[in-house]
């Protein structure tokens, strides 16, 4: 079967679904964060595929910016996790329920 946009989009959606599953099911903050990265990567793949099959480089520029913002986001998020761990000695979402009513 010839590989076209459809196949790339399928991979992208499956990867996004995997990341979503990880965010919902896992309880470790770091693993949740890695699943978020998976979802970002899935979106990137879809954008690059659209860019390729529409003869247009704008999608790739957008992916470039997404990668930059993702790097900034990861650094801030991991700093938050480290600060949280220093205060509470845990990286589990089940132990972080002080904002629960």
């Amino acid at each position: 079967m010839h590989v076209g946009l459809e196949q790339y989009l399928t991979v992208s959606f499956l990867l996004f679904a995997l990341g979503l599953l990880g965010v919902i099911m896992r309880r470790n903050l770091l693993i949740i964060y890695m699943s978020l990265e998976l979802m970002l990567n899935a979106a990137n793949l879809a954008l690059v595929a659209f860019s390729r099959f529409n003869d247009n480089l704008n999608g790739q520029i957008l992916v470039f910016f997404i990668i930059t913002v993702a790097a900034a986001e990861v650094s801030v998020g991991l700093a938050l996790i480290v600060a949280l761990y220093r205060k509470r000695q845990t990286a589990h979402v089940e132990d972080l329920t002080s904002m629960k009513l």
Binding site: L30, E37, L38, V48, A71, A72
Partner: protein
């Protein structure tokens, strides 16, 4: 034998490579979120590296060469090192298997089912195969030209964003947060 030579030498090679990289991406992605052999976050981070590298392979197949390089440099280089650094810093123990909550299971299955349903619906609603053969090359020259002419303002804003993130991280990691 002739079929094999045709497979490797002919036009079918990118297609074969696509399936290889796609399978590798999805397999390693699944092992990131649920590894049956190890509960160690370091293992997840390593499989995330594999996912990202095989995704860079997919980018190459899409002729996005610059993005493939950036993907490996930024993600596999910087982001994963940051992840590993934090994992080692926090000294997380091998996490014991906690019981998966019924709510989490149901919510996960429902949301993933919704995503897949939306995907199938949208794929059926559009005719993707009636496109001309693509010719876009995502090499450094063409991408850089676009980046420094049409997209120069977002580029500068992103550089400010990186500065803001750096200052924020330094503030967050100070010992006594005021």
């Amino acid at each position: 034998m002739e079929a094999l030579a045709n497979l490797i030498g002919g036009t079918a090679l990118p297609d074969v490579l696509f399936y290889v990289f796609a399978a590798l991406t999805l397999l390693c992605g699944a092992l990131v979120i649920a590894n049956p052999f190890s509960r160690n976050p370091v293992t997840s981070a390593m499989f995330l590296v594999l996912t990202i590298i095989s995704m860079a392979g997919l980018f190459v197949l899409l002729h996005a060469f610059f993005l493939a390089a950036v993907q490996i440099l930024v993600y596999a280089g910087a982001v994963i090192v940051l992840f590993l650094f934090v994992i080692m810093l926090l000294d997380l123990k091998e996490e014991q298997r906690r019981k998966i909550k019924m709510f989490g299971l149901v919510a996960g299955v429902v949301s993933v089912g919704a995503i897949v349903a939306i995907f199938l619906k949208s794929l059926h609603a559009t005719n993707l195969n009636a496109r001309p053969a693509p010719a876009t090359e995502g090499d450094t020259a063409s991408l850089g030209k676009l980046l420094f002419t049409q997209y120069v303002l977002p580029f500068e804003i992103v550089s400010v964003l990186l500065l803001v993130a750096m200052i924020g991280v330094i503030l967050l990691s100070k010992k006594d947060l005021k």
